[in-house]
Subunit: 277 residues, 2 copies
C-alpha cells in the first residue's frame, strides 16, 4: 500500500492510498479520513460508496462529511467505484465499465476478470483497512449515493452483522426494474435475471430486510427519480416493518448540494449506532 | 443576466449566473448562495474570492460554506478569478492571465482591455447583485483564499465603510515582496512599483488598516508559506493595533481541506458583524 497524499482536515487527516488489488487485478485507490481520536486508538468506520462516474475523490472533496465525522470521532472510507487502468475493460457510456462497477462480481466477458467490486468492498478492502489503520472493524456502518446507495443497501442486507446501520442518498432502489440496473446487470451478470436478484435492494428488503436502523433520503426534484424507484424500497420496507426512515426531501435534486445538506443527519444517525455498546 | 443552474442546498438555493460584463468586456459567471431567509427579505452577503486557477465553482463545491451561511441566514457570492474567453489574453503559466486576475485593473498590454477584476468586484458585480437579488448591500463582508485572500484584504482596506468585517485563508499578504505578486504586478501594472503599493495588504495595513474586525488563518504546513509572507501582515497589523486575530494553524496546508476545517469559524465571525445593528 502506498500513501498518495495526506492533508490535515478538521483535526484529523484526510489520506489517499493506493494498493495492488488481488480481487480486481489492478491498482485501486481509496480515500480515508481519520479523526483526531485515531491517534490514540481504533475508531469506528463509516463507508461511503459513490455513484456513477465518481472516483474515490468526489465525496471526499464535495460531500462535507469530514467535519461531522470529526465531531463524532469516526473514520470515513471512500472506495473507488470500479477497477481502472489500461488493461481493464471499458465502455463509451458513462453508466457501464470504468466508473460504473455497480458493486457486483461480473461473471460475463469482457468484465469478469476485473469487475469484482462486491468482493473488493465486502472482503479485500476491509481486510486491508483493519490491518493497516487504527480502525475498530467491529464498528462499521455504510452509506452511499445513487449507484453507491444501491451498493450500501445491498451489502448491508447481504452481510448481516457486518454493518450496524445503513443509509443512502438517492439510491438506485430497484435496479432489476429500471434502466439503471437492467443494462448493467445484463452486461456484468448475464441474461439470467435470477442472478440479478441478490443485487436489488427492494427485493432484498422484501426477502430479509436489514438487522439494524436504515435512513434513506431522496429529493423530490431528483432528475433521476424514474430510474431510482424509491417507491419500491419504501413499499418493501414498510411492508416488513423495517426499522428506520425513508424520506422525500422537498426541492432537492441528485447533486452533492443535496448530499452535503443532509450529511450531518446521516453521520449523526450512524454515530449513534457505531458508539452503542 | 442568465441563470445557469439552481440547486436546493441547506434549505436555500445555490445558483450559478452569467452576465455580460462591461468592465471586463466579456461574459462573467458567478455563484450565489441564498439562504432560506432570502425568500422573505434582503439578507446580508459574504463575498468569497478564490485563488489561482479557480473559477466561481471551486469554493462553491469544496469549501463547505453553505451550511454555516444557512445557519446564520447570510448569502454567499463566489465571483470568478479573471475575465475569460477566446478574445481574452492568456498565458501558459497557471499564475498569470485567465484564472489569475489578482484583483487589479491592468494598465499594460495585452491585459488592460479585459483584466479589470478590481472594478468588477468593487463596482460592477455589487451593483448587479443589489439590483437583481434580495441582498442587503449595507451588510457586506468579505473573505478569500490565497490570491483571493489578497483580494479580500486589499478591497476591505481600500473601500472603508463597504465591508463590516474581513477574513482570509492563507492569503498572499505581501505581493510586492514575493514571487506571487511581483511577477503579476509587473505584467498587469507595469514596472513602476509605486503603482503596486495600493494592492499589497501588508503595506495597506501599515498605512491605514481596516475599520472593523479581521480574521486571518494560515497553516503551518502550507507549502507556499514563503510566497504568502504572513509575517509581514502580522507585523503591520500588530504594530498599528488592528483589531482582530492572525492565526497559524498547526499542520494545515494550502488545500480546501484546510479551508473547510475553519469555515465555520469564519462564517460565524462575519455573521456577528453582519447582524450587528
Amino acid at each position: 500500500m502506498q500513501t498518495v497524499s495526506e492533508n490535515a482536515c478538521f483535526g484529523g487527516t484526510q489520506g489517499v492510498h493506493t494498493h495492488a488489488s488481488d480481487v480486481c487485478g489492478c491498482d485501486m485507490t481509496f480515500g480515508l479520513f481519520l479523526p483526531e481520536e485515531a491517534r490514540i486508538g481504533p475508531v469506528p468506520v463509516l463507508w461511503y460508496l459513490s455513484g456513477l462516474t465518481c472516483t474515490h475523490e468526489n465525496a471526499m472533496v464535495k460531500a462535507g462529511a469530514q467535519g461531522w465525522a470529526a465531531e463524532q470521532g469516526i473514520a470515513l472510507v471512500f472506495p473507488d467505484t470500479s477497477p481502472r487502468g489500461d488493461g481493464v475493460a471499458n465502455d463509451g457510456a458513462f453508466d457501464l465499465g470504468q466508473g460504473a462497477g455497480f458493486y457486483v462480481n461480473a461473471t460475463q466477458a469482457p468484465w469478469a476478470p476485473h469487475f469484482r467490486m462486491w468482493d473488493y468492498v465486502a472482503t479485500e478492502l476491509p481486510a486491508l483497512l483493519g490491518a493497516e489503520f487504527p480502525l475498530d472493524m467491529d464498528r462499521q456502518a455504510i452509506t452511499g449515493h445513487s449507484m453507491g446507495g444501491h451498493g450500501a443497501l445491498t451489502l448491508a442486507m447481504s452481510l448481516p452483522g457486518r454493518f450496524r446501520s445503513v443509509s443512502a442518498f438517492s439510491p438506485i432502489c430497484n435496479p432489476t426494474g429500471g434502466d439503471w440496473g437492467r443494462k448493467q446487470f445484463a452486461a456484468y451478470l448475464g441474461p439470467d435475471e435470477s442472478a440479478w436478484e441478490a443485487h436489488d435492494a427492494s427485493l432484498l428488503m422484501a426477502d430479509r430486510g436489514f438487522d439494524g436502523p436504515m435512513l434513506v433520503d431522496t429529493g423530490t426534484s431528483d432528475q433521476f427519480l424514474d430510474l431510482l424507484r424509491p417507491e419500491t424500497l419504501a413499499a418493501a420496507a414498510f411492508a416488513r416493518r423495517q426499522q428506520g426512515s425513508v424520506r422525500m426531501q422537498p426541492g432537492y435534486d441528485h447533486s452533492y448540494f443535496f448530499i452535503s445538506t443532509f450529511m450531518e443527519d446521516h453521520v449523526a444517525f450512524h454515530a449513534e449506532a457505531l458508539w452503542r455498546d
